[in-house]
């Protein structure tokens, strides 16, 4: 790896190298669980089988959605410890307002998340209270509000469509249609990009390079849909996660908003002097985080089938861990949506795989903690080398 990093055509940027390392780690984890879950009925293992893999993705959807929001908050140099409580509160309110109908009930969850994000973001950005403190306060306070509103009771989800959002699958034919749209999108963006490079006088990609950029994502998309359709179709929460991840990736990598978040986290003074309104963008990051916490609360409540007062507890830490495993720096300025979702996938794979193997609960916690520290340790080691 050290050699490929230095010269020649295998030159990789450190960030890319990091992403590939985590991808490799994920594949190793998958292969291990696949090997470890063989039995007499499943000579090739059950971990990556359609049914289990589909379940794994459903389990990660909530954490994944939260990780995308958390990434934006961390990239601009902040943190949000309150989102576990926000998931609980927004989910509780969605359950309580079911009487108003499906749309108002779901909308109220998102509005509550957004409002809390806006409030906390305002306190951080405009009143200069450190995010750690504001959201630690939020973690306590919002949990208290849940207890008041629900009187400590668990509220079942009554609306069938609400529940199906967390449990059902989209029709396999719709899955294929989505795959076709996605592949079309890949082809279109690549061709457009190639034309733009020519227009600006930059060296265009070779024909082979262009083909690879189109073929690899297309094969992954189609393969994914085939696998999911074997288990009844793509789970609805996974569709939400994919949409959020795509939007998040676009927002962070291809908009001025995203660029400014990285600038603010990388060097706030330089960003301010370059004419960036730090407060506005930090507030915006907290708002996005809050709205996504609202969405996550819907998926979580729907999957569980009820809103309990302790719903969402410790989810903030899973989201932060996902970002960090995916290469996000808690100092701000560094990290990608792809990495954060990859981190969530690694955590979910560990959870799911260890459950399949009947690993005891205490050992699961120890392994997950160890992986988090090891991922960062590995990153630090790699940095020192370069």
């Amino acid at each position: 790896m050290a050699e490929t990093n230095q010269t020649g055509r295998f030159k990789l940027r450190t960030s890319a190298l990091r992403a590939y390392t985590m991808l490799l780690a994920l594949i190793v984890i998958w292969m291990f669980f696949q090997w470890a879950t063989r039995d007499q009925y499943h000579p090739y293992g059950i971990f990556l089988g359609a049914v289990n893999f589909s379940k794994l993705l459903q389990q990660m959807a909530v954490t994944g959605v939260l990780a995308v929001g958390m990434l934006m908050v961390i990239v601009c140099g902040n943190i949000d410890l309150s989102i576990g409580a926000v998931v609980g509160l927004a989910g509780g309110i969605a359950a309580l307002t079911q009487g108003w109908g499906l749309v108002p009930s779901l909308a109220s969850a998102i509005v509550v998340g957004l409002a809390i994000g806006a409030l906390q973001g305002t306190l951080v950005a405009y009143f200069n209270i450190p995010a750690f403190i504001v959201t630690l306060g939020g973690l306590e306070a919002w949990r208290g509000v849940i207890l008041k509103l629900t009187k400590g009771a668990t509220i079942p989800v009554e609306l069938p469509i609400f529940r199906s959002l967390g449990r059902d699958f989209i029709d396999p034919r719709v899955g294929f249609a989505l795959a076709a749209v996605a592949v079309g999108g890949v082809v279109w963006t690549n061709i457009r990009r190639q034309r733009a490079r020519q227009r600006h006088g930059l060296t265009p990609l070779s024909a082979g390079g262009l083909m690879a950029r189109i073929a690899i994502p297309s094969i992954v998309i189609i393969g994914f849909i085939f696998l999911m359709n074997q288990a009844g179709g793509v789970p609805i929460p996974v569709i939400f996660l994919l949409a959020v991840a795509l939007a998040g990736a676009f927002l962070t990598a291809n908009t001025t908003f995203g660029r400014y978040l990285y600038a603010i986290g990388g060097n706030a003074d330089a960003a301010r002097l370059s004419g960036i309104n730090l407060r506005r963008y930090i507030l915006a990051a907290f708002c996005v985080m809050g709205a996504l916490a609202g969405l996550a609360s819907i998926l979580h409540t729907a999957r569980v089938g009820s809103a309990s007062p302790d719903a969402g507890t410790l989810m903030e830490l899973d989201a932060i861990a996902s970002c960090v495993i995916g290469g996000t720096s808690l100092m701000g300025g560094r990290g990608t949506v792809f990495g954060a979702v990859l981190g969530a996938l690694i955590l979910a794979s560990l959870d799911n795989g260890m459950s399949l193997l009947n690993v005891e609960n205490w050992a699961q916690y120890v392994v997950k903690g160890g992986v988090l520290v090891a991922a960062v340790g590995f990153d630090m080691y790699g940095r020192r080398g370069s």
Binding site: Q6, T7, R13, R193, A196, R197, R199, H200, G201, L202, N254, T255, T256, F257, R259, Y260, Y262, A263, G266, N267, D269, A270, A271, R272, L273, S274, G275, I276, N277, G333, R334
Partner: protein, 509 residues
Amino acid sequence: MNKPLLEMKKITKTFPGVKALDGVTFDLNHGEIHALVGENGAGKSTLIKILAGVYPYPDYGGEIVLEGSERRFSSIRDAEKAGIAVIYQELSLVKELSVAENIFLGREPRRFGIINWSDLYSRAQKLLSDLHLQIDPRAPVQNLGIGQQQLVEIAKALSQEARILVLDEPTAALTDAEVETLFGILDKLRERGVAMIYISHKLEEVFRISSRITVLRDGRSIGTDKAADLDEARVIAKMVGREVGQIFPEAKHSLGPPVFEARNVTVEDPTVPGKLLVDHVGFSARKGEVLGIAGLMGSGRSELLMAIFGAHPGRKSAEVLVDGKLVKIENPYDAIKQGIGFVTEDRKRYGLILEQTILKNMTLAGLRHLSGRFVTDEDAEAAAGERSARELRIKAPSVFTVAGTLSGGNQQKVVLAKWLLTNPRVLFLDEPTRGIDVGAKQEIYNEINRLAEKGLAIVLVSSELPEVLGLSDRVIVLHEGRVTGEFSRAEATPEAVMSCATGRRQLAA
């Protein structure tokens, strides 16, 4: 002749892909100040880091001989024990602790494992008075000026019985008065037999203080000579490997109408309410003109520009006119919109996002019009960035190189490019050549002239008087937040400007 105190023989150091030092030989006598000069990247810091044990044996080739016997330092601690102390450009004091605590940090006098405070303070007091320093050993370091902090570092080095003192750009942040104090102390230390290695870009100081000069270039030693046998031009020629005819090219700027004017700029110290850093200052700049602002550290130069740019954190008031029309500037965004660019001082702190690419740094301030209001266009950015990198001759593998890996001169060019990409009509430059090598300075000077010829109004702040005088069509001088002089290019002599800058002469009221 006596044996030298220190000899570094055929020192070689290789980093992956780069030979930083290639057979450098350097020696130092008792009680001598030996200057080490060279462009950035010539290998000065690497050589010092080997001497100080930062790059431990055997990570380098060659030998270090101290008083006739070879030494192999495996850590910084080892080198310190051998009497080698380095005072780096970035001071390494703990701001919250007192002067005495800093001096004895990690080596506090103890009794039964408990710090003996009275001993600590009395020993610190003795050290400071030996150096004739009027510094209270109980004062927190953060209350001292940068010059005094430097002197505390020296006291700290001496408390470790340093026999070899390495000073890396010690005067970069000092006022002239502080430089004098420092030189007085260095002279005294020399008399006591302390040997010193003096690293500086300021050749005038090098000639004043040192007896011998060694020039490094591209990791090789170009030669060691007695200072008396050299002059500045010859040293520069050795540093850059070519004769530099005239550092400041004679430029004919054709002046147009005034495009920028600031009136009644008043700035309050954000930490001391009521104290004015800038007091009713006004100036104007014409199209194609380079206006120099001279003044010592603390005269309010940077605060003046920061306030106009809408970036001063405290209370301020200013009337700013662009093209004769009063405009409202409340933050840097407004300033940029009015066509003002600001190459700020301290590029690492205020200018660059070190972990991002050259391209992302370049396009940050002008992102919206270079790329798109909301959705960015990476290719349009790359095209603009590559054009600018070519024009400014930024030396880097590509615009996707991380800014933090560049040399100081190239980093400065990236900051300049960032502001030029906002299409400014007025460009503020605050210390645009601080800490960069002679070659890069020359290129920045040429660029300043080129921009003025293209019709920009340029406002230049610099601590280096020759730079202000050499580039400006007109110079205003600040002293303690007030304008004390204004000169045309012909009138601006170093003596006249300095006497206003030090407050000895005032503008006739």
